[in-house]
């Protein structure tokens, strides 16, 4: 083994080239990790929303809540079914909900987009992960009030506490902010079911029923019971699957992310190869000397490969570090499944960062292998004669 310090010092000696290559690969890793973090944030928001025992009941043929409609009578029958979990007070964990969409302007000059407004009863809150009011208070029925997440308040006009959101010419006052573990619920505005359906002039309308099964067996039985019932004409989806399905909404972003990463990896790989070829060319005599001293070809190969990997890894780490200021930064995009805004935060977890480092490794390996092979194939005698 040729000592590692040989490579480190060589990188240091031609520091301008090293720095430029490191910044080049760093930017490339940065851009890719940023897009991975974006996708991961979006998927995390959707994934954390799904609870394994939760079911969503929709009208047959419907694929999402906004396009679903259920009769109120049917909804009450579902609530009475056996196998639904109960809370501490013996209330069934079954929430009859009304979901609608509004086109509203974003703050700043962000254009307009669609906003999910959900009407639900108090029990619905216990079906959301870690629901809690963090500022202001919860809505009181009959007063035309709404609550939302702080993230939404920052993104949309008229959604800050004290401001009024107009729904079909009825003003709803924002009275509080809630949190729900960063789940998709934080992309919504919540109101009282009756207030909302009245404003929408569809009193008594129900979009979906959300419920939690007692256990896995009860869940499967409920699915069978509801699906098989010819009167109901309903479809029931496990919440995890429902949000899994919506993740296809992030497909476009994901595809873009991976396309970016793939193209950039290639681009940076060639850059690394260039740098390493130059290194090999300018060090032919050294390579000849090392070979003469008795270092085997494998050592030379490893040494140059290692140098290339080291070079790219520095870029990779730099790129990963540069994404940290974006960690937790919230953003939003269209969820095409619900045709509305979904807000989420960039997430740079170990997985995402590992992908960035892996990219750097691949760049280093692929970019270094050909120059390293060239170094190995140098004829010792000719190499020793190089200037």
């Amino acid at each position: 083994m040729i000592p590692l310090k040989y490579n480190v010092r060589n990188l240091r000696v031609r520091w301008v080239t090293t720095l430029m290559t490191v910044i080049g690969t760093g930017l490339v890793v940065w851009a890719s990790v940023l897009s991975f973090g974006l996708t991961d944030g979006l998927e995390h928001a959707l994934r954390i929303t799904g609870h394994d025992l939760d079911l969503i009941v929709l009208r047959k043929g419907s694929t999402d809540e906004t396009s679903s409609g259920i009769e109120q009578k049917t909804a009450s029958e579902i609530a009475a079914l056996d196998g639904i979990a109960r809370d501490a007070n013996g209330q069934p964990l079954c929430s009859v909900e009304f979901v609608t969409n509004l086109t509203k302007p974003r703050r700043g000059d962000g254009g307009t987009t669609n906003l999910i407004i959900r009407g639900l009863e108090p029990v619905g809150r216990s079906l959301r992960p870690d629901f809690k009011i963090v500022q202001g208070r919860d809505v009181r029925p009959g007063l035309n009030e709404v609550i939302t997440s702080e993230r939404m308040a920052q993104r949309f006009q008229n959604l800050a506490i004290g401001e009024k959101l107009e729904i079909n010419q009825v003003n709803f006052e924002v009275v509080g902010y809630f949190e729900s573990a960063g789940s998709a619920a934080e992309s919504e505005v919540w109101s009282d079911t009756r207030d909302l359906t009245n404003a929408r002039r569809t009193p008594g309308a129900v979009s979906s029923v959300n419920l939690r099964a007692r256990d896995a067996d009860a869940r499967d039985a409920l699915i069978k019971r509801i699906t098989d019932d010819k009167q109901f004409q309903l479809s029931v989806i496990r919440e995890t699957a429902y949000f899994e399905e919506q993740m296809s909404a992030s497909l476009a972003i994901k595809v873009i992310g991976y396309v970016i990463a793939a193209f950039l990896t290639f681009g940076a790989m060639f850059a690394a190869a260039n740098t390493m070829y130059a290194a090999v060319a300018s060090r032919s005599r050294e390579i000849g000397t090392l070979r003469a001293l008795g270092f085997p070809q494998s050592s030379i190969l490893m040494s140059f490969l290692l140098e290339s990997v080291l070079l790219c890894l520095m870029g990779g780490l730099l790129g990963c570090l540069a994404t940290l200021p974006f960690n937790g930064l919230s953003t939003g995009t269209a969820n095409w499944a619900t045709f509305s805004e979904v807000t989420f935060s960039f997430r740079f977890g170990p997985n995402v960062l590992a992908q960035g480092v892996l990219m750097a490794l691949i760049m280093g390996m692929l970019g270094g292998i050909f120059p390293a092979v060239r170094a190995v194939r140098l004829n010792i005698i000719k190499a020793l004669r190089e200037q």
Binding site: T289, L290, L293, I381
Partner: protein, 237 residues
């Protein structure tokens, strides 16, 4: 000291060696039927005009190259029949190199340069340290061991290179124009040092040189011309 080369056994045995280089379609003969034998502790100078094949012969003896035909047996190893990888291992054990342009690794200090061939041996860090310091002591540069090559003069660089050549305690030292790039004073110092290696440390040395003054220090001088041995003089020193 020294490898298990018993006296009486030849350190180098070059038997009827031919070497041709191929350039495009033509093959150019460089060595044409060379026979040389070297005993332990010999100090041989190879002389001859440019293109006479002296460096090629040196490369063959050093195991950097293989003959087109004939045998080169050095330290008991027939180099023509040894694979690349085995040759590399063999060189690290038996050969010390001294180059005209020193060929020190510019990013490593004097100490690290001398240590470099030792990393190919099974010696541990402490043992390597002893060897490096001993070798630098021999060449008189123990106080410069933390200097980088560019901080040394040409003569000093060549002394580091000699320290590197002897650090692994090889049987044979090959030198290609060791004084070719040095002023007269430094050259003389280097030649003194090499003579010491031969007499005091009983190293077998093969040296290619243009310089009659350098050749005069050797015990034996071979003259090559157009790939053929023309003269073999042993000085009775």
């Amino acid at each position: 000291m020294g490898d298990a080369v018993r006296s009486g056994e030849k350190v180098v045995s070059v038997q009827n060696v031919f070497k041709e280089f191929r350039r495009d379609q033509n093959s150019i003969p460089v060595l044409r039927g060379i026979n040389v034998e070297l005993d332990a502790c010999e100090y041989l100078a190879l002389m001859g005009p440019s293109g006479s094949g002296k460096t090629t012969l040196l490369n063959l003896i050093a195991g950097l190259d293989r003959p087109t035909s004939g045998n080169v047996i050095v330290c008991g190893q027939n180099l023509g029949q040894t694979s690349e990888g085995d040759l590399a291992r063999w060189r690290s054990r038996h050969i010390g190199f001294i180059f005209q342009l020193y060929n020190l690794i510019p990013v490593l200090t004097a100490y690290e340069n001398v240590e470099l061939p030792l990393t190919l041996t099974p010696l541990n860090r402490r043992e390597r340290d002893e060897h490096v310091k001993a070798a630098l002591q021999v060449v008189g540069l123990a106080d410069r061991m933390d200097h980088y090559p560019r901080q040394l003069s040409g003569g000093q660089e060549q002394r580091v290179s000699i320290a590197r050549a002897i650090a692994t305690d090889p049987t044979l030292i090959v030198a290609d124009e060791p004084t070719g790039d040095l002023d007269a004073k430094s050259a003389s110092e280097i030649l003194d040092l090499m003579q010491r290696l031969n007499t005091e440390f009983e190293k077998t040395i093969v040296m290619v040189t243009h310089d009659p003054a350098a050749a005069a220090r050797a015990r034996r001088t071979l003259h090559l011309e157009k790939g053929v041995l023309v003269n073999d003089v042993s000085s009775a020193r």
